[in-house]
Every structure is written in C-alpha cells, then in structure tokens.
Subunit: 350 residues, 2 copies
C-alpha cells in the first residue's frame, strides 16, 4: 500500500448535464447521484484500503483547485496538480508521473477519471488490486475494459485477445487494438462479438513503466517534464510548469501511448460502470423504479410518467404528470425539460 | 360618479392554479399575467374614471385583510369588509349593500369578482357605464353576460330574451333563465343558439333595488344585516358581524336573488373575459405565440414545443424542449409539469 499511488483526473468541464453541470460547476464536483457526496468524493472513497491519502494526486485547473481542496481535505495540498491550460491527458499524466517517481521510484499507479460512477465497489476494488499486482510484477500497461451492456456509440472500444491471458493473472488479457467511438452499425457488430470492451479510461502501471513509455512513444512530452525534474516540490515548480506545459501537444494518453505501446493488457470488468456522459446513463444507473423513473431531489411525485429522470436541487416539491422519456433538471434556478432522445442537443440550449 | 360604488369580492381561495396559487396566496393577490400587477389591482384599475377610490369596497376574509390593504392602499381601511367565515356570496353582498345604503341611499353599485381578467378594458368600461345608467333609472338588476367563444362546461349560462330589449338601452335584454354548468352536449347546444351567454358574476344595481330584492327573496339574510343597521361604522360592528354572519345560510347571490327575481337584465358583452379557472384559460388569454405557447417568467426558451404554458417566479432560465399541450409552473420552489388535458386533477396532486 505504501507504494500505491492514485492519480485522479479532475480537469474536465461539463456541458452535457446542463443545467446540473456547467463550466463553473463540472460534474465531478457535484452530488450528481443525490447521495450526499460528489463524484470526486466517491472516486476518492472507492480507493480507501488500497491507496493512502498522502499517495493520492489530483490533476485539475487553477479554477477548480480550491474545490478539490475543499472536497478532498485529506489529500495533501502539494498533491494537487494545477494544469495551467487544457492539453488533454498525456501531458498531465506525464507530469504527475515524474512527480510520483521523484517521491517514490518504486510506485505503482492507478489513473482514474473523477466523474464516473461504479456500482459494485467491491468488484471494482478486486479488479484494481489484481491489476496493481500484475503491473508491479511486470512492465505491463493495464487498462480496465468494461463488458458492454448495449451497443453504445459514445465510448471507445478495446479489442481484447481472449486467447492470450497472462500466465500470472488469468483474467487479464492482451489488447489487440483500440477502436474509436463507432457508428451504430459497428457498435452492434462489436457487441455481438464478446471480445470488445468499453474503454473506461482507468489505467494501471508502475511509474517506471509509464515514464519509459513516454520516453519511447512521445519523447517531446517526456523531455518537457524530465528536464525540470529537479524543480519538483520546489517553490519554482509552478512557474516552470506554467512556462512549459502550454508548449505541449494536446493529446490523449490513449493516442500518445496506449495505441503505440506493445505490452498493453486489459482487465474485462463487470462492476456496473458509466462515465455519466448523458442524462440517460445517469437514469439507467440510478435504480429506476418499475416505470423507469428516477427522482433525485426533494419530494418528487410521478403520475402516469415513464422513463423520466427528475434531478432538482433548489425545489421543494415537484409533481410530474404525463411524461414519457424526459429529463427534468433544475439547478441553481435554471430548469431544463427535454426529451431523453434529444439530449445530445442540450449544449445548444444554454 | 359620487353615487357609484364598487364591491370587489376577494374572499376566494385558489387551488386550481397550484402551485401558482394556494390557500395562502389565492390568485387574486398574484401577478398571474406577469404584468407587474396582481389580479385585484387590475380589477381596481379597470374602474378608474368610473368609481372613486373612497367608494370602493372589498369583501375578504381576516386572513387576506392585510393583503388587500397592501395591494390597494387607495381603498379606505373602513371599506374592507371582513367576513368571519365563508358563506358564499349572498350574505356578504347583503351586508355590504346595507353598509353602502347607510353611507349613500342613492348609490348605484357594481359587484365584481377580484380574480377575473378582461382583455378590452375600454369596451368593459362602456358596458359598465351603460349598465350603471340603466340600473340608476330603473329597478333593474343587471348582469354582464359574455358571448361564448366555445362550448365551455365550466361556466353557468344566462338565457337572454333577445326579442325583448330595454326601451332605454337597446343592448340590454331581459333574462329568460339562468342555467347551471352544462355537460358538453348541452354546452354545444347553447353555443349553437345565439341567446346563451356566460354568467360573468358581475352585477349592477341600485342599492335600494338589491336591498329590496333581499327583503323579498331572502328575508332571513336580509333581517340579519338590517337589524344591526345602527352598528355600521361603529366600533361594535365587527363583533356583531362575527356573531351573526356565521348563522347565515351559505348561498350564492345567483340562487338567493337572481333566479327568483323578475326584473333581471343582461348586457351581452364581448370584451374578452375569463375567470382564469384553468391553466388553459390563462394560456388562451395571454397572447400565445404562433405555436400556441405562453411564457410568463424570466428567460423562457421553447424548442419544438406547442400549446404549452410556462409560468415561473423564482427561476432564472428555463428551456423546454419537445412538449405539446403542457403546463409548466414554478412558484416558491414548487414545480408542476402536467398535461393541459389533465389539469382538472391538479387539486389531487398537492
């Protein structure tokens, strides 16, 4: 446990779940599930017993730094990484990897988004522990793949080679290829086969493995952060980062490393996962009643209503009559009523 | 004008327009139209130039007395009649008629509900003036009848004898009969004929006519208020009323007087009227856009929406997508979304 580190990626801005989330309040900092905890708090808690609080790192922007500190007071302030600008995941992961390496060159690292939900936390913990053991013993880059429940076109897919499981862990398989978000026809094809998994964006590796991978597959980004190694945990660090970080290519770790590296493995998981990228995904993962309705908020009353999600923050009493397949969201005095089938257009509404 | 008095009936409790109106805030005290004025203020203003403020009387309950004074500061406090309990309109109208008679035995009186809307105020004023002149010159009881625009089953009807117009006013006719709220079949029949009018609940008479009518047609109620004539405008008045008023039969002036009296006349009016007894009546009378939508509130945005009324008080921004024929109302943090076709059931929802 001393050697295990967690990197929570918390720089995302949210516009899909408007008016619940917005640039000022991205969804990771909101109590999306109405459980009294924000998504980033749930992410942090999910790793209790696996990672010590002093080994938790959070990467975010200046704008959300105080929110992170407020919502995760157990995380040392020095572990909150401030990205001076948005450059996708690769530069940020490279930077924090070098910082972790400086603290503990023998560290094993989990990288996890801050705004996803996981239903079966026990199964999740087992998966993470298995992957950590595997990554510690090998030079492998491991990713969690989610067994698809439907032909989702909003996720990237991982093609696993199910004939090739690791000799050390029988439930970890070699990755054949990464596939970008498919169209519906392709997604249906993927789901028919049983070796396609959703790319969860959760990675597990040893710090030496990822640092070496950056050296090999993206030497520019690697040099940017290796060159200033001596400044880490130094008063001049942020100034150096503010100067160098913006010069990095904006690229995801998937493109920069995963799709190029050779020793990539996947753990097919089945713990109930969603990136909450849509209102309908939130509805499906929030225990809908027998009519498919979900109510998050005070005193929500349904009459002749089906497949509808109501999410309110400020309202006292809500009565919904005669809706089928709708989103009703109120946040900070903004109200959206929209068909679930049209939710892709929400960003155009605000 | 010195002899003209106005009685505004403002004791109603509202449950049909929930959550906009409720027992604490009946609709007469609310800015239902989003115009910056409450319905009772609009009622009062409609009579400017016809009635002097000191000749305006408002009948209400103890609970709403302060609201009346606050919203109509020009009305003398002594003219606010407090009914100790609800006894429908006849006892209240008899009481205030005796009080008016004490002030001015030559008064001519208009009785009007406080929670209706009138679209063409100029036409309304002309109608009222005509009726007042007629009532002053005769012993007639006059009522305003509204030319029906559709077969409404929520209103009572007046059957006019259009062959018998008054010799003094050619647009005032003798009433043949009053009819209670009809079923749809009967309403369709009424509308086909052109001598059926909606009963607006607006009455015009001289104070001596109505006082005599009570003596003849409901002597019990008449005696209740005539017997304590000497107490009116006296410190003991309210105590006397609190004792006697509750003993009155609970009966409408329509039943107690109109349906029995002989000299009843009606003025067929066409100034755009509604008792705002339903959300759909409010929608129809609030200038719907070309899709039939009405927005009352801040920053309301419609997408693919038709025949829908949005009425908000506390919300900042509202986006409504994909609704047809709905009510969306927010008031004091309560939200109702309901099909217009189901609005009869609103009282069951709260």
């Amino acid at each position: 446990m001393q050697n295990t580190h967690l990197v929570i990626l918390a720089g995302g801005v949210g516009s899909r779940l408007w008016p619940l989330s917005n640039n000022e309040h991205p969804k990771q900092f909101l109590d999306v599930l109405g459980c009294g905890k924000t998504l980033i708090q749930l992410t942090f808690e999910r790793f209790k017993g696996i990672v010590l609080p002093e080994n938790v790192w959070v990467a975010t922007s200046q704008e959300y730094r105080d929110k992170v500190h407020e919502q995760l007071p157990e995380v040392p302030e020095a572990n909150i990484i401030v990205e001076p600008c948005r450059r996708n995941t690769a530069p940020c992961i490279c930077y924090v990897s070098w910082k972790i390496k400086k603290r503990n060159p023998r560290a094993n690292v989990v990288v996890a988004p801050s705004d996803h939900i996981i239903v079966d936390v026990k199964a999740f913990k087992e998966a993470i522990k298995d992957c950590l053991e595997f990554a510690a013993e090998t030079d492998a880059i491991v990713t969690l793949g989610i067994k698809p429940t439907h032909p989702e076109t909003g996720y990237g897919y991982i093609k696993a080679d199910l004939s090739f499981s690791s000799s050390r862990k029988r439930n970890i398989f070699r990755v054949d290829a990464f596939r970008e978000k498919p169209n519906m026809e392709t997604a249906l094809e993927y789901v028919k086969q049983n070796n396609f998994l959703w790319n969860s964006g959760i990675f597990i590796w040893s710090v030496s493995t990822i640092v070496n991978a950056f050296r090999v597959y993206h030497p520019e980004i690697s040099r940017t952060f290796e060159d200033i190694f001596s400044y880490y945990d130094d008063p001049e660090e942020q100034a150096m980062i503010n100067e160098r970080f913006p010069l990095c290519e904006s690229i995801s770790v998937d493109y920069a490393i995963m799709e190029k590296a050779e020793e990539i493995f996947v753990y097919p998981a089945n713990f109930g996962w969603s990136d909450l990228g849509s209102w309908d995904s939130l509805r499906k993962h929030s225990n809908p009643d027998k009519y498919g309705n979900v109510a998050i908020g005070n005193d929500v009353n349904f009459y002749e209503t089906h497949n509808t999600i109501v999410h309110t923050s400020m309202l006292n009493k809500v009565v919904v009559q005669g809706l089928d397949g709708y989103i009703v969201v109120e946040k900070d005095g903004n109200l959206l009523i929209c068909k679930l089938s049209e939710e892709e257009r929400i960003r155009l509404f605000h």
